[in-house]
């Protein structure tokens, strides 16, 4: 059944922030579908609303209008508590600067996910150890975040996201603070997991490393998403796509 349902379906979403006496509409009638195994990369100018879109898609914020469906479950009618549970069971995040907990070791960062999910500690530990080995972090498992390099921290952050066995993985500029080589490692991990673990992956990125690995590229502008047709080779090229963007979804 899960093969036939869209992992993530954002339908007609509107978000506006209060702006003095008026409001500022950031997302407007926005549609987005991400299927299992797909890696969708979203670009857009600073302030376009990319992070806002991720908070809505990741059930961190309720949209003013529209519906978000995760793993076949419509969320508009759910209580905060039910949304938290759905998030726990189906959604994982990767952040720009890893966002690790300062007092947990690499291994414990992953084990915590199991603990929150009520998993038996032995099971959680075994899975965490296996994941750390896969991410080439086996030797660093007892280090605190302060003792890890930036690239290692980001890999631990990705391991933590995988630990949740998510249906949908959401990453906000996961490579922005890494050099090109480390950025490539992170992108390979994300796109590999999308394929092999059938995770619906939604990445926001300014740089091209993620864009090159994308199965689909979208650009957020004017509150909605536009398909990127021209392959971008650098940031300047990505900017020039503005003129050829096309509305995606039901509008067409």
């Amino acid at each position: 059944m899960n093969h036939t349902t869209t992992a993530l379906d954002v339908d007609g979403v509107r978000v506006a922030y209060p702006d003095g006496p008026d409001e500022r509409v950031v997302l407007d009638s926005l549609d987005l579908r991400v299927a299992a195994g797909e890696m969708v990369v979203i670009s857009g100018e600073s302030g376009a609303g990319k992070s806002t879109l991720l908070t809505v898609a990741g059930l961190l914020r309720r949209p003013d209008q529209g519906e978000v469906t995760v793993a076949g479950t419509s969320t508009s009618g759910l209580s905060d508590r039910q949304r938290t549970t759905l998030r726990r069971d189906h959604i994982a995040f990767v952040y720009q600067s890893a966002n690790l907990l300062p007092t947990l070791t690499a291994l414990e960062q992953l084990e915590l996910v199991g603990h929150i999910r009520g998993e038996r500690s032995g099971t959680a530990r075994a899975r965490a150890l296996a994941l750390l080995d896969e991410l080439d972090l086996g030797g660093r498992r007892n280090q605190l975040p302060g003792q890890l390099s930036g690239g290692e921290r980001q890999r631990v952050g990705i391991g933590r996201a995988f630990m949740a066995q998510p249906t949908v993985l959401i990453a906000d500029e996961p490579t922005a603070s890494l050099d090109p080589e480390r950025a490539r490692t992170v992108v390979d991990l994300l796109s590999g997991a999308a394929r092999e673990r059938s995770i619906a992956t939604l990445v926001v990125a300014h740089d091209d490393a993620p864009a090159r690995a994308a199965t689909r590229r979208l650009r957020l502008a004017g509150g909605t998403l536009h398909e990127v047709v021209e392959p971008a080779t650098d940031r300047a090229a990505a900017g020039s796509v503005l003129g050829v963007g096309a509305r995606v979804g039901t509008g067409g």
Binding site: S51, L54, T55, G58, L60, R61, R81, T84, T85, R87, R88, D89, I91, A92, F93, Y95, Q96, S97, N99, L101, T103, L104, E108, E111, L112, V113, H115, I116, R117, L144, A164, D172
Partner: protein
């Protein structure tokens, strides 16, 4: 408490300040309760040690022996109550001047019938049944008073020898001197055959006591209620209770303030946990659990040091006493106050928006 325990272990320095403050409050509370217990003992240990359950005072006397005057008819009525024993007791504060010169003694003089249940030891009974004299609290022996020393007591010109010493204790912070009831009447009323006395000591309980009290215009108090009549007792107890209450409130507030600051500092971390799918209950359990562990450890250390201090002090002249019950109460109350204090941050935790997890990193 997966996160809380590791956070405590690896962030010891961050929690040190609060830990030390709680430990000091616990130490202070323990020493104060040692002092409170010690003051009670110093004040009324004699009355507490008397083998009686209740005391009958004249109505309106506020459990004060000197304001209570009873007569044989009152005693007779109480002796008729089934299932209890009743015996007269004369009590007053007197000054005793040694015949041979030297420092005089302040005494709390208790006149008792030598053959009553109040006199338990055979040697004391024999001494009080014989010629008039004083049976003194043993602490006076440490001050150099000896058997055979002669004193003039109160205003009377009669001389009374010290007959012996007993673990009589104190009343109104004054060592007790036991005398026979007739000696007490001689000193108090200058007439050994006067029939007045201060109170009736009762052993046992009966619902009929209330009726007896009504018939005789008297009040029946339990022994503990009667402590209130001892000079200074109510003031001391109230002061101690007040100070200890304030300490509890202070520690609840300190812990509440600290935990609130900690919660504000952790806002992003809480947002992150919520984004990971942790429920409010999970996060509250973790945070309040952390405070509970910290408060328990710090209180344990503070109480242990405080108890050791009280044990050392109790060997000196200060009126302190190590009371396990009181210390257990202090410990539990402080831990309770700590958990209550940490609830101040309840709303701050539940109101954190998970969306901040995706906010810009500071």
């Amino acid at each position: 408490m997966f996160l809380a325990l590791r956070d405590l272990r690896r962030g010891v320095r961050r929690f040190m300040l609060l830990g030390v403050v709680i430990a000091l409050v616990a130490l202070l509370s323990t020493v104060l309760s040692g002092l409170a217990t010690g003051l009670v003992t110093d004040g009324i240990s004699g009355l507490r040690a008397l083998p009686l359950d209740r005391l009958v005072f004249q109505e309106g006397s506020d459990a004060t022996f000197s304001r209570s005057i009873l007569r044989p008819a009152d005693l007779k009525r109480f002796q008729q109550v089934q299932g209890v024993k009743a015996t007269p007791l004369g009590a007053s504060f007197v000054n005793a001047a040694p015949v041979d010169g030297g420092p005089s003694l302040d005494l709390s003089m208790f006149g008792v019938a030598a053959d009553s249940f109040l006199v338990e030891r055979a040697d004391a009974r024999a001494a009080l049944a014989g010629p008039p004299g004083l049976v003194l609290a043993s602490e006076l022996q440490d001050q150099g008073v000896k058997v055979g020393d002669r004193y003039t007591v109160g205003g009377s010109s009669e001389e009374y020898p010290v007959l012996g010493f007993t673990f009589a204790g104190t009343y109104g912070h004054t060592p007790i001197a036991f005398v026979s009831l007739s000696t007490w009447r001689q000193i108090q009323y200058s007439n050994p055959d006067d029939d007045r006395f201060s109170a009736i000591a009762v052993q046992g309980d009966s619902p009929e006591l209330a009726a007896a009290a009504a018939d005789t215009s008297t009040v029946v108090l339990t022994k503990t209620q009667a402590y209130a009549g001892s000079p200074g007792f109510t003031a001391e107890t109230t002061t101690m209770t007040l100070i200890r209450g304030f300490l509890l409130v202070i520690s609840a507030l300190v812990i509440g303030a600290f935990f609130t600051v900690l919660t504000v500092q952790r806002t992003r971390q809480i947002g992150l946990l919520k984004a990971m799918g942790a429920s409010n209950a999970y996060i509250l359990r973790d945070g309040i659990g952390q405070m509970a562990v910290l408060v328990t450890l710090a209180t344990g250390v503070g109480v242990a040091v405080g108890a050791a201090l009280v044990a050392v002090l109790s060997r000196g002249p200060a009126p302190v006493e190590l009371a396990p019950r009181a210390i257990a109460t202090v410990t539990l109350a402080l831990i309770g106050a700590g958990i209550l204090g940490s609830l101040f941050a309840f709303r701050r935790i539940t109101q954190v928006e998970p969306a901040i997890a995706l906010g810009v990193e500071p």
